[in-house]
């Protein structure tokens, strides 16, 4: 019955002028082949320098009347002095807590009145101040951004308030088992002296010792036009926006000799596999983190590694997600990632898995982490390459996307043609390259495993797996 109805409807669908195809049933015998891929059209990046030498990168995007501006500073958390972890983040957070005599809430109110957003923050590799604003109000928003960057007041009472807020935040974060698992994993992998072993914002202990003098000093030494760049994307013209930026930032002068950049050391990777269990009684799931020390962003193996990781755990059809989610249903999702920074960040595979399948899930994780070291079948490899290469253009759609991409290029000192060469570089990776980097960069026999879950339910089955020595630890010391 349905078939007859279908034919009738298909005929009805063929109105006048709808062409040949409307008159016949579609050919569903196989999936339609895509035509030639559209050309990747990357917009031109125009550059300029302000009179103080501050470089400006401009991309004109005229679809929507907005503009996004980032000031990127070589002042990330990796520059925190020993014993003062969290200083870069606290400095960035304090920028808009009072500037040029304007109190914190006045700044917030003026920004909101313009329909703008002004954010400040730090990663390990950079600090940033980012403004998004309807282009008609850029003139009124830029002076506020400049005040925040150049003339912060760092009021002592605001620092105390922010400190209390952060301490409470860190207390609350411990409610979240995923957060606890990620922090414990990083600490156990990198230790408490290495910067990557501690959250960008520091710990309750380190936060307590920071003073407003520390913040002022960090700002004076690290916030320098010679250590910064401006990135603009939006409905502006280069010459006009550079003139506006000159007015706002052109008078910014170096106030001290910029300190040498601190580079994080390469830590010793673990020698043998071990499993660390953190008890969270009654947990419905176990939060799992597996991995070890990965690579810096500037690794020559970047392209083989991203193709490799796309196969392993970097896409929906990746082996980890297919196994743990689509085949076994142990998890809502599973993934893996090389967290590439200026220094070698972690390689981590992760999932939240149901409590009563924790051991089974760990076994499947290790099955995949081991199998990825075998040669990858050609069709699977080629699909991963196409996934990255053909999807690449979509990452330049919005003003925010564009600023993100340029910021990434600048922070990691990547070549100017990194994006125009990206697709050819992905397609140039050979299966043998991926096979080589898998052998060199992934050694499951030495991976650290952190599990946060209901010890009473999971400890015995995890021990019975025989993956390696299991220790149960208190989370407290790993979070301080």
């Amino acid at each position: 019955m349905r078939r007859i109805t279908l034919v009738l409807l298909a005929c009805l669908a063929a109105g006048p002028g709808t062409g040949l195809h409307g008159q016949s049933r579609p050919d569903r015998s196989r999936a339609p082949e895509p035509g030639p891929a559209p050309e990747l059209r990357l917009p031109e990046v125009q550059t300029a320098r302000l009179s103080n030498g501050l470089p400006v990168h401009v991309v004109e995007m005229h679809e929507v009347p907005v503009v996004e501006i980032a000031l990127v500073l070589d002042a990330g958390a990796a520059q925190d002095p020993a014993g003062k972890f969290g200083l870069a983040s606290l400095t960035a957070a304090m920028l808009d807590e009072g500037a040029a005599g304007r109190p914190a809430l006045t700044i917030a109110e003026e920004v909101a009145l313009l329909g703008a957003t002004l954010r400040t923050g730090s990663s390990y590799d950079a600090s940033f101040v980012r403004l998004g604003v309807p282009v008609a109000r850029l003139d009124r928003a830029l002076p506020i951004m400049a005040d925040v960057v150049l003339r912060p007041d760092f009021p002592a009472d605001e620092l105390e308030r922010v400190r209390k807020e952060w301490l409470t935040d860190m207390l609350q974060a411990r409610d979240d088992p995923g957060w606890v698992a990620s922090r414990a994993f990083a600490r156990l992998l990198f230790g408490d002296a290495h910067r990557y072993g501690t959250d960008e914002r520091g710990t309750p202990t380190s936060l307590t010792v920071l003073t407003d003098a520390d913040v002022r000093d960090f700002h004076r030494t690290h916030y320098q036009p010679s250590r910064a760049a401006l990135i603009v994307a939006g409905d502006i013209r280069r010459d006009a926006v550079v003139a506006q930026l000159e007015k706002a930032f052109g008078s910014w002068k170096p106030s001290a000799n910029a300190p040498e950049r601190r580079d994080v050391p390469m830590p010793e990777p673990p020698q043998a596999r071990r499993i660390v269990l953190i008890d969270r009684p009654g947990s419905a799931q176990s939060q799992v983190r597996i991995g070890w020390v990965g690579v810096p962003r500037t690794t020559p193996d970047y392209f083989p590694l991203i193709v490799l990781n796309t196969v392993l755990g970097g896409s929906f059809t990746s082996r980890l997600n297919t196994n743990l989610r689509e085949v076994h249903g142990y998890a809502y999702g599973a993934f893996s990632q090389f967290q590439m920074r200026r220094g070698a960040g972690p390689f981590v595979a992760a999932a939240g898995v149901q409590t009563d399948k924790t051991a089974e899930a760990l076994r499947e994780f290790f099955n995949e982490l081991t199998a990825i070291r075998d040669p990858i079948p050609g069709d699977e490899f080629a699909r991963a390459q196409r996934n990255i290469a053909l999807g690449f253009g979509a990452g330049f759609e919005t003003t925010g996307d564009m600023v993100d991409r340029l910021q990434h290029r600048i922070v990691y000192g990547l070549p100017e043609d990194v994006y125009s060469q990206y697709v050819p570089n992905v397609l140039a990776v050979r299966p043998s390259d991926a096979h080589r980097v898998a052998a060199e960069r992934l050694d499951p026999a030495r991976f650290l495993v952190v599990v946060v879950g209901d010890r009473a339910s999971i400890e015995a089955p995890v021990r019975a797996l025989g993956l390696g020595p299991v220790t149960v630890v208190e989370p407290g010391p790993l979070l301080e």
Binding site: R2, L6, V7, L9, A13, T18, G19, P26, R28, R30, A31, E33, P34, P38, R41, E63, V64, P65, V66, A104, L105, A108, E109, A112, L113, G132, P134, V135, R161, T168, Q172, R174, P177, V180, D279, R280, P281, G282, S283, Q285, Q287, S315, E326, H328, G329, Y330, Y332, G333, G352, Q354, R383, A384, N387, A389, G391, F392, A394, F396, E397, P475
Partner: protein
């Protein structure tokens, strides 16, 4: 409230300007030009052309959500959504994602009480593939869906619930809040993610019946947007969707109005360090009078650091760690929620008192014109944000489908924004007086359970 199939998702969206970008006379009018037609099988189709990036997005809204579920089968609309990715009559299990990733595409789906939406975003050379996949599951899902894939996706969804409700701090609060706000039997009473026992109870026969009842083309709207030639796109849509059989008529969902006569209070415990207070009211449906006003009320009360509640609770008194307020707009009834978390050493009662003082202040006197201007400018900027991205949830195509489904006009951007631009301070006071009474509401407290475990 919205539950989605996979955590890999894009947020944000995009906008076009009638008269061209950078128009110099007056504020630009938000607009997304479109053409539309309806297939004989009842599928409504909207085409939107934009060549700024060489991608196309195929976005479908089905007018069925968790509000249609039967008692004992909660969570089913969302579980069903998961099965839409597991293969169809001419697409083998697992191939849906393999084919799309092979062309650099991206896709997802989500369910809320009112609707279920799906999108596929691909480079524009793969439009045909996206239409093939979307039409095949609309027409021929039941030829492929198996008991085994139901069982696996049931486990996946249970893990989604464990991850985002049971194992997440304060995760159960929004579920309890809806149970308190909407009476037994109201379509918004139960959670979209469902109750565990109901997920266990769902059967293969339920899948077949649900698809036949709700997934007909006549209960859906399709938006094809991006780097397309509309004439070609129309021809391809007719080709791929023309043979999808019409389903039964689906009358609109309805529910009697919800009126609270008093304050209803409840306290639940969770594995958290700090207590949190939720105050909530049932408010007017999306796009009806009062809805836009309450968005502005939310902004005045708790939108950013210059808002009244942030200033008092978090900044001046420092008795709260955070505060938020939002009008959660929906088809049958909306809810307005104020949420605040107490600082260590402070009681929820202190927070409640300050919140009530600020609500009373808005009942007594309208907000300053500057506060209204700030709220409207912030809302206007959020429209630009949504227009910037074509695909994804909340992107331009998804928003056009929301407008088409709810108002009949896919290009409702300017009208939508206009709802806010016409408001006067007195309207905001009136909305608080009418919709946020002090003596008829729901109050939920989440308090720390016995201190235990990895939290310390």
């Amino acid at each position: 409230m919205t539950v989605q199939r996979s955590a890999v998702l894009l947020l944000a969206a995009c906008l076009l300007l009638a008269g061209g970008a950078g128009a110099e006379e007056g504020p630009p009018r938000l607009s997304a030009p479109y053409t539309q037609f309806t297939l004989p099988n009842g599928l409504r189709v909207v085409l939107h052309e934009d060549h700024s990036v060489p991608i196309v997005t195929v976005n479908v809204w089905y007018r069925v959500g968790s509000g249609r579920e039967q008692p004992g089968r909660t969570g089913f609309a969302h579980l069903f959504e998961h099965l839409m990715f597991e293969g169809s009559g001419h697409v083998k299990e697992g191939e849906f994602d393999l084919l799309l990733e092979g062309v650099g595409g991206e896709n997802n789906g989500s369910t809320n009480p009112d609707r279920t939406n799906y999108y596929i975003t691909v480079p524009s050379n793969a439009l045909d593939l996206a239409l093939f996949l979307e039409s095949d599951r609309m027409g021929f899902l039941l030829d492929a869906v198996s008991r085994e894939s139901l069982d696996v996706q049931r486990d996946v969804v249970k893990n989604e619930r464990r991850q985002f409700v049971d194992n997440r701090p304060y995760g159960a609060a929004s579920i309890v809040l809806d149970e308190m706000l909407f009476p037994d039997g109201h379509p918004y009473h139960w959670p979209t993610i469902g109750y565990m026992e109901d997920l266990s109870a769902a059967t293969y026969e339920d899948v077949r019946a649900f698809f036949k009842q709700y997934y007909g083309p006549n209960n859906a709207t399709l938006v094809v947007a991006g780097d397309i030639d509309p004439a070609v796109a129309r021809e391809r849509v007719e080709y791929w969707f023309g043979d999808v059989p019409r389903g039964p008529d689906v009358p609109p969902l309805s529910a009697p109005p919800v009126v609270h006569q008093k304050i209803e209070r409840r306290t639940i415990t969770d594995q958290v360090q700090l207590p949190r207070l939720y105050l909530a009211w049932v408010t007017p449906p999306v796009y009806t009078p009062g809805d836009a006003e309450l968005d502005v009320v939310a902004s005045v009360l708790a939108g950013g650091r210059s808002s009244r509640l942030y200033r008092r609770l978090v900044y001046e008194l420092q008795i709260a760690q955070d505060v938020a307020a939002f009008q959660q707009s929906a088809d049958l009834a909306s809810s307005f929620v104020i949420v605040a978390t107490a600082r260590p050493g402070h009681a929820l009662e202190e927070l409640r008192r300050v919140i009530d003082e600020e609500l009373e202040a808005l009942r007594q006197a309208p907000p300053e014109p500057r506060e209204l201007e700030r709220a409207v400018n912030t809302i206007e900027a959020s429209f630009y944000d949504r227009m910037e991205r074509l695909g994804g949830f909340g992107g331009r195509a998804d928003q056009m489908n929301a407008y088409a489904t709810r108002t009949g006009n896919p290009d409702y951007f300017a009208e939508d924004l206009g709802r806010y631009q016409v408001l006067a301070p007195a309207d905001i006071r009136a909305a608080v007086q009418t919709w946020l009474p002090a003596d008829r509401r729901v109050e939920l407290s989440v308090v720390p359970a016995r201190q235990s475990g990895g939290g310390r």
